[in-house]
């Protein structure tokens, strides 16, 4: 058993620090375990790219909504019931045949939680954060997004004040699709800019 213990020593050390921090905060009456459980459950279950996908699909079918999304992202997103922490100021950047947008947080991991949930590991990695600014076209190619040279790539650096959501282009061959079906084509990565919306099967 002690072999196991040493084998996982690093991991144990971090788990121990986290457990001790939580235990002392609870013991001092500053937090309750239930509060922490509720937050974790919300972020694991309720917040995620399925929310952003509904925003994008609405914008694809409703030009007036798209205009509102352009002029005040947070307000238009609230119309669909999504908002709150880390989503107060949302800027929606729209992909066109001439411009492709991609989002990063160079300093840490800022991300539009209400519409995308928590960021994937690669979004937080030093490699992505440094390279997507320095060589966006090469990074996008690694994600499988190969853009013609004439397409301008705009990189948006998130801050604690402003979060960005990419509005991907509506795929062709989707004219007869319902809003719900369209939402199913909107991938997480297409809303970060490291992917495109999927084509209909």
């Amino acid at each position: 058993m002690s072999h196991e213990h040493h084998h996982h020593h690093d991991h144990d050390e971090l788990a121990l620090r986290a457990a001790a921090l939580e235990a002392v905060l609870v013991e001092k009456g500053l937090l309750s375990t239930d509060q922490i459980d509720a937050i974790v459950e919300r972020y694991e279950r309720d917040l995620g790219p399925q929310n952003g996908a509904r925003v994008v699909a609405r914008a694809w079918v409703d030009p007036a909504y798209r205009d509102r999304l352009r002029s005040d992202g947070a307000a238009a997103i609230r119309e669909l019931g999504y908002g709150g922490f880390e989503g107060d100021t949302m800027v929606v950047v729209e992909n066109t045949p001439a411009v492709h947008n991609v989002v990063v947080c160079t300093l840490c991991s800022c991300y539009p939680w209400p519409v995308l949930g928590l960021p994937p590991t690669w979004y937080k990695s030093p490699a992505y954060r440094a390279r997507v600014v320095a060589e966006p076209r090469a990074v996008l190619r690694e994600f499988g997004v190969v853009l013609p040279p004439e397409v301008e790539i705009r990189v948006w650096d998130s801050t604690s004040e402003v979060r960005y959501l990419v509005l991907p282009e509506r795929p062709s061959g989707t004219d007869g699709m319902s809003e719900e079906e369209l939402a199913g084509l909107v991938t997480r990565d297409s809303m970060i800019g490291t992917g495109l919306a999927a084509s209909p099967a």
């Binding site: 013991e27 937090l31 690669w122 939402a183 997480r188």
Partner: protein, 120 residues
Amino acid sequence: MSSVDPDVASPDAPAAPPRTNGALVFAEPWESRAFGVALALHDARVVDFEAFRARLIEGIGSWEASRSPADGGYRYYERWLTALERTVLAERILDPDDLDVAREAIGREWDHDHDHGHPR
């Protein structure tokens, strides 16, 4: 230049099904606890999230300044937990001695469970 690991990046990942975050959000349970504690402290107005974020940014920056990108070993939630500990200590919300005592007690408990062969 280290690449953005395409396996981790999984560019072909489809849209997440409803009510899940799709990708692995927390690799280990302690990460979710550290995340939840930071947000709960903000909700309870014990810690201002921006004060915490400033320490997180500082910690990530100094980690990156001290290593080359190819080194690897970067663990986001380790930086998160460290920033959180620094925040509660700097703002005198907790006493460092109390944290030490709790670590020892919980560590003893876990070792005891190990000795009896209980999975953690």
